[in-house]
Symmetry: C2
Subunit: 340 residues, 2 copies
């Protein structure tokens, strides 16, 4: 790999290379015994706490220019920095037990700004029933925030990306494509409602919903949709070794996002290939569907198939097209207009 | 605090402001019950795991221009990113159970470089008996690495900054001023030995020593010396409400660091006010001294006094001078030559 730049291989390929380096030779080295799920294969790493519980942990680095649109307030940047991590904790079915926030900022940052940032973090932590328990402050040319969230869940209730079986139903919480539509509206200077803007600026970690789902025992696999629905489907498919048939008509999309998209191609683009929604994507044993349908605003969007059937979108006319493996991916020039 | 910049108040004042925001009104809000030690008051935050153990967690953000001297290799940057966090875990008397590394890097970074970085992280984690269990990859203008380390320790063995009592002996592991001397030598383009350079580039987290010390039951308080001996003494003093009398003659300083310092003032400057050594500073019940003296290369450097006596240096001629509260502090223009 001499002289090859990271931009030429993309985030997921680089994660694979690093996961090999971080893997002990036989997987049973000292220091590895407690690791149930290691680097790179789920929303969180999972550590065995020896009793009935396990610990989940996740981290996310955000930067002002790449992750925070200009229109965001400091409070919203704080909220988002906490939310992206708490959403990963939710996706494991876990209850958050603490957040650690490292903040690098220019030395001429106003204290007012930092206070608003901290209040946004605190508000999101409180909303999720947890607290900021530590952190690090640092000078840095560009505002950079790395959050780390910890969660706890009974081993019997842990939800992984692996576990979906052919025949399971595929569900999502909330709406898809809202954050993507908001981002595009901002970029094109088009008007956009407060509801759609909030989907992008103040994503809600689905902690409560995920906990109830984990307790129901009906969910077979789960992931969040931070990188877009298509990418999340591919991640679930790889870990569960299943395929998916997604019913285009069933995708939950806000009315104004439908209006914003000028044509069906554009709407599919927003719904499948844009990130930032932070909803939960999960699969359910159809016999257990009753147990979860009253938990929250969830929509059945398709079914699990055999791995060999791939990941396809079924149009209202029952035409099948392959869903592409693209979306929000770091380190690679992939944008919301789909050029990759 | 309108229009005030963070540079005008410094890291520790800003931590105080943020700690207030992150503190729930009565300290017993939902989400706060499990927190034994919260943001800002020790090397790690501490969470109650309900059984006999507690979980410690710490994070540190490092940047290429401010934290990695030009002469460092990618492997050493990786080692250091892991080491700074593992040193904080050591300072709690805990055993590390996992490291999470978030890496932001320019998109034209060579894969070779990232592999060397990862191998350095892995080597340090392995040295400390743990593993890299997760992380995040991101594009960013400047190489930025945020590590988060997790550790576990029996509640009865947890070592805090608070706990030192007047009459206790003050000890450090290893040598003081080595990393500071190395940094200054590099800046002044003076020759410097591999041993001194390694103190700066490949600091050793004192995990094994700290674990043995925690098990001995003789240690009353502990901190690492990452921000310099003086700053660490002030942090211990504040949390334990004690003073310190440090014996100048007893400070463990490498022979070549003594030679590098051209005069006694300079030597005191290096030994007390430069950071980067990542040794342990701790206090011991004098009656229990026997239990720890064979554990590792430790030096008794002074004694705990009453808080009111302050933090003083006793010269060989028994002259007392106050040790200043300065050292390595982020967000403020403090440098190793001591101008603050």
């Amino acid at each position: 790999m001499k002289d090859t730049k990271v931009s030429s291989i993309g985030e997921r390929a680089l994660i694979s290379i690093l996961s090999e380096i971080f893997k002990a030779p036989d997987g049973k080295e000292k220091g590895q015994e407690g690791i149930l799920i290691g680097a790179g294969s789920d929303d969180c790493a999972v550590l065995d706490l020896k009793g009935e519980d396990c610990l989940v942990v996740t981290t996310d680095m955000l930067h002002r220019t790449t992750d925070f649109p200009e229109e965001m307030t400091a409070w919203q940047m704080g909220w988002m920095s906490a939310a992206v991590n708490l959403s990963d904790v939710a996706a494991m079915g876990a209850e958050p037990i603490g957040l650690i926030m490292a903040i690098g900022m220019p030395s001429d940052t106003e204290i007012n700004f930092v206070e608003a940032l901290a209040k946004g973090m605190q508000a999101c932590a409180e909303f999720c029933g947890t607290a900021i328990i530590g952190g690090d402050l640092d000078t840095h040319a560009e505002l950079t925030i790395t959050g780390t969230a910890l969660g706890k869940v009974k081993k019997s209730q842990l939800l992984l990306r692996r576990g979906a079986r052919p025949g399971d139903l595929v569900c999502v919480t909330g709406y898809t494509g809202s954050a993507g539509a908001a981002l595009e509206a901002l970029q094109l200077k088009k008007p956009v409602s407060e509801t759609v803007l909030k989907a992008l600026f103040e994503p809600i970690p689905r902690i409560k919903e995920a906990r109830q789902m984990a307790e129901s025992g009906a969910v077979t696999s789960m992931i969040d949709t931070s990188d877009g629905l298509a990418m999340s489907l591919y991640d679930l498919a790889r870990q569960s070794h299943v395929g998916f048939r997604i019913w285009e008509d069933s995708l939950p999309i806000l009315k104004e996002v439908r209006e914003f998209a000028s044509n069906p191609d554009k709407l599919r683009e927003l719904a499948l290939y844009t990130g930032g929604d932070f909803e939960l994507l999960f699969t359910i044993d159809p016999q257990e569907m009753k147990k979860v349908q009253n938990i929250c605003n969830l929509t059945v969007i398709g079914e699990c198939t055999m791995y060999e059937a791939g990941i396809v979108l079924e149009s209202p006319e029952c035409k099948l097209t392959t869903i592409a493996q693209r979306g929000y991916q770091q380190l690679k020039a992939e944008t919301i207009d789909g050029s990759s």
